[in-house]
């Protein structure tokens, strides 16, 4: 019985883990905003952030209390932008030199 309980607990925990893993559909508005903010901060510090990401996070923050669903959507969009910007920068880091006239 105990064993069964343990297994089912692990399974539930595992499934829950999977569900929150992708695509960052975080249930809590605060963690969605924190996630977006952290990713934006990284992109910003590397000077590769996109133009509207910061504003999108600010909008999410402003809506956190009144419209958390919208706020989460905005925060996830901002996180996507920051992620894509960082990935793009890593990708171009490998190829930009080929564009220099020889």
């Amino acid at each position: 019985m105990k064993k069964l309980l343990l297994i089912s607990t692990i399974t539930v925990a595992f499934l829950a883990g999977c569900a929150t893993n992708y695509p960052m559909a975080t249930n809590s508005v605060d963690s969605a905003i924190a996630n977006a903010q952290a990713k934006y901060n990284k992109a910003h510090s590397e000077m590769v952030a996109w133009g509207m990401t910061k504003k999108t996070i600010e909008k999410a923050k402003a809506l956190a209390k009144t419209n958390p669903r919208k706020a989460i959507a905005l925060a996830n969009e901002a996180a996507y932008e920051a992620d894509t910007a960082l990935a793009q920068s890593a990708q171009y880091e490998k190829i930009w030199r080929a564009a220099v006239p020889k």
Partner: protein, 302 residues
Amino acid sequence: MLKKLIKIATISMISGTIMFAANFNAQAEKDRHAFVNYFLKKFENPVANRAKYFPYVPIEELKKDYIYPLKFEDFKNGPMSWYRPAKEQFAEINDFPPYEIPLDDGKELFTKPFANGKTYSSCFPNPAIKQNYPYYDTKRDEIVTIGMAVNECRVKNGEKPLKYGKGDIAKVIAYLADKSRGQKINIKIPSANAAKAYEAGKKLFYKQRGYLSISCNECHVQSAGKRIRAEALSPALGSTTEMPVYRLKWGGLGTLQRRLVGCIKDTGSEKPKMQSKPVKELAYFLTYMSNGMKLNGPDTRK
């Protein structure tokens, strides 16, 4: 014998030092030659070399609207160097150059005494110095732009620094530029850190960025001489000679820094701060690419 040995040793030491000093700009010189050659070849005969450089520009347009061959010095005129419609339009506009009034203001600001009785002349006894900016100050170990030099002069004389980019600072720089008109751009790379700054600027120029995934290079080297909608894309070669520039889009004068952060924003990137390290490095790289070209600022652009 001993004398001879000493002589040889001395000569090799001197030449060693010279070689070492010259090494800091070795890569930059290689880059610059290739850069200049690219533009000279591209605009040597666009009709004959259409397949290589202008594959999507209609041949009739190349024949009718393109001016060629271009010489090195021609590139100081931006899109007016090669695009006939732009040349005609700006010849008309510059009958009464729109930068003349702000330039007069600049002269007044330059000669008007600060509260302590001194003027800008105390810092710029010879105002024909713009060709040396931005320069790498090895003591401070940083790039010094002409805007910084103007503001440092003010602070030294007990005045508040001016806001960068436009307004009074652009007017004062316009005065210095006008006094430096015809001087040849003369950017040096005096240290290993200066070479690093140059490389950082080069990367910012060539690496794609922003949500549009484009680089300075893609528009102003690869696509220079093509049109984005009706706008003729200006060549990066010579692009700092007209600064500060009166842009019809701005309805006023703006500095190189203002233009650069605007361009970076246009890629869909966050707008960096003027006079921040990356923007200064970009200015340093870009100005170096036009070394030897005569200054022609202030001038007018779209």
